[in-house]
């Protein structure tokens, strides 16, 4: 299987603060790959290096054999990016936003079909400003897909959505992935990761501390002190706790 995204020993500093110390993982073409880690761990920063919006301080980032911050033009076409926080133009209607963004790409998706697939057809004439959180996320995914990307990067797709909307998003991501698009998914929800991700990486304080399948993550700490079976979430929390302690000891 070929590699879609390769990140090796990625470091990133902002001024004098080093945010990423050593992030290393690779994403295979066609898989759904999760990026996990506590708030402030450096997930969004890593992603911004992958989409070329930030320049790595050192280390290697390759996306479909290209260097993102160098070959930005190509990366912008190959990678669809759903930003963690972005406000879309509220005065525009859903269809209008999609049409505008579609024309920014050389080989866009058909807007009507894309709206169908993302469940936006009934909202085509709604102003963006009137959409609910879940509807906005649908639009943001649709915008990430509109340029016919080979890779989509979804930064906290389902944070803040109700259970029904989350389920709808998951089905959407599965459909996207079924179409052969590589998906990078930043998430805090272990149930989401368990259901969607082929593999995942865990970033803690700017360092990769685990890369593997959800099953392998679970295997790191499968049983609770009372002998019962741990959930994936508990295994993840255990890993974070252990490694935070270790990092704390190293610093002191």
């Amino acid at each position: 299987m070929t590699t879609a995204v390769e990140v090796r020993e990625l470091r990133k500093t902002f001024g004098s603060t080093e945010v990423l110390h050593d992030v290393t993982f690779s994403v295979r073409q066609g898989e759904i790959f999760g990026i996990l880690g506590p708030n402030g761990a450096g997930k969004t920063t890593t992603i911004e290096c992958i989409v070329g919006a930030q320049r790595p301080t050192s280390g290697t980032v390759e996306v479909l054999t290209r260097t993102p911050h160098v070959d930005r033009g190509a990366i912008r076409q190959l990678v669809g990016y759903q930003l963690q926080s972005s406000v879309l133009p509220n005065a525009l209607r859903v269809r209008e936003v999609l049409e505008v963004f579609a024309r920014l790409y050389p080989a866009p998706r058909d807007v009507a079909r894309l709206m169908d697939e993302t469940g936006l057809t009934p909202l085509a004439r709604a102003r963006v400003g009137t959409l609910s959180g879940g509807q906005r996320q649908r639009l943001s995914i649709a915008l990430a897909l509109v340029g016919s990307p080979r890779i989509v990067v979804l930064d906290e797709l389902t944070t803040g959505l109700d259970p029904q909307a989350r389920l709808a998003m998951w089905e959407l991501v599965e459909r996207v992935s079924g179409g052969g698009i590589t998906v990078l998914l930043v998430s805090h929800a272990l149930d989401e990761v368990e259901r969607l991700c082929d593999r995942l990486t865990v970033v803690l304080e700017g360092r990769t501390i685990f890369t593997g399948t959800p099953h392998e993550l679970h295997e790191l700490a499968p049983t609770a002190p009372d002998g019962g079976r741990r959930s994936l979430q508990d295994a993840y929390l255990e890993l974070i706790e252990r490694r935070s302690d270790a990092a704390g000891t190293r610093r002191n």
Partner: protein, 246 residues
């Protein structure tokens, strides 16, 4: 071209659906002109040797005011708004490009400017009774160059302002300075020579002086044209280099 047309469509829709900004472009210069024409006494008696009245001078200033409100406040504030909300970051993830994002705002602003200035000239000549332009071609040229030089200046704010209040604040400062050099407080012959000299080499003063000569004297000083062209290019070039997506 297709990309630019798409961005222009987005900017146009946003402007049309937020008519306050559109109305403000016209309210201030129209208000200024109507106030001078009908409420302030003595504005229709000649103030200089050529028989020009204060209202004639204000017609030229009103064009500047319209141009400045678009170029120094509306336009930078729109871009700063995109930056503040993260829309610029979103656009940065598409193949749109900074140049096209700015250019699209230029296109929309220029259309607003043409309409606003056209409406002001019509008001001045047909309603208030200011003489028709001596040299309409020169008037159009100098008004267009003036507007470009101001847009270019506004681009500096648009390129870096982190949010809407900063953009409006800096725009308003330039706006006030512009009014001073255009002679809003010292119309026509009342303006001190020093102010006139400085004004003649910066956009607001050069534009007003150029508009005035084209309109009432039928002339277009070459110096004014050169000054405005330089200002239309230099700040815009800097702005493109300084442009920040976040």
């Amino acid at each position: 071209m297709r990309e630019l047309a798409a961005l222009v469509r987005m900017d146009r829709i946003q402007l049309m659906r937020n008519p306050t900004a559109l109305v403000m472009i016209l309210v201030v210069p129209f208000g200024l002109l109507l106030l001078q024409a009908y409420l302030i006494p003595g504005t229709r008696t000649p103030v200089d040797a050529d028989g020009r009245t204060a209202i004639d001078h204000f017609a030229a200033i009103a064009l500047l005011v319209a141009a400045m409100s678009v170029a120094l406040t509306n336009y930078p504030a729109s871009i700063a708004g995109y930056r503040e909300t993260g829309m610029l970051r979103r656009l940065d993830a598409t193949p749109a490009g900074a140049g096209r994002v700015l250019l699209s705002q230029w296109v929309v602003s220029v259309v607003c400017l043409v309409l606003a200035m056209g409406a002001l000239c019509a008001l001045a000549v047909w309603v208030i009774g200011v003489p028709a332009p001596e040299n309409p071609g020169a008037l159009v040229l100098v008004a267009a160059l003036g507007a470009m030089s101001l847009m270019s200046l506004g681009s500096l704010i648009a390129a870096v302002a982190a949010n809407v209040p900063i953009a409006y604040g800096s725009g308003a400062l330039l706006f006030m300075a512009g009014l001073l050099f255009a002679g809003v407080w010292t119309p026509g012959p009342l303006m001190p020579q020093a102010l006139r000299d400085v004004g003649s080499v910066i956009p607001p003063g050069a534009m007003t002086q150029g508009v005035f000569s084209a309109w009432f004297e039928g002339e277009l000083p070459l110096m004014t044209v050169v000054v405005l062209i330089v200002w239309a290019i230099v700040p815009a070039a800097f702005a493109a280099r300084l442009f920040r997506w976040r």
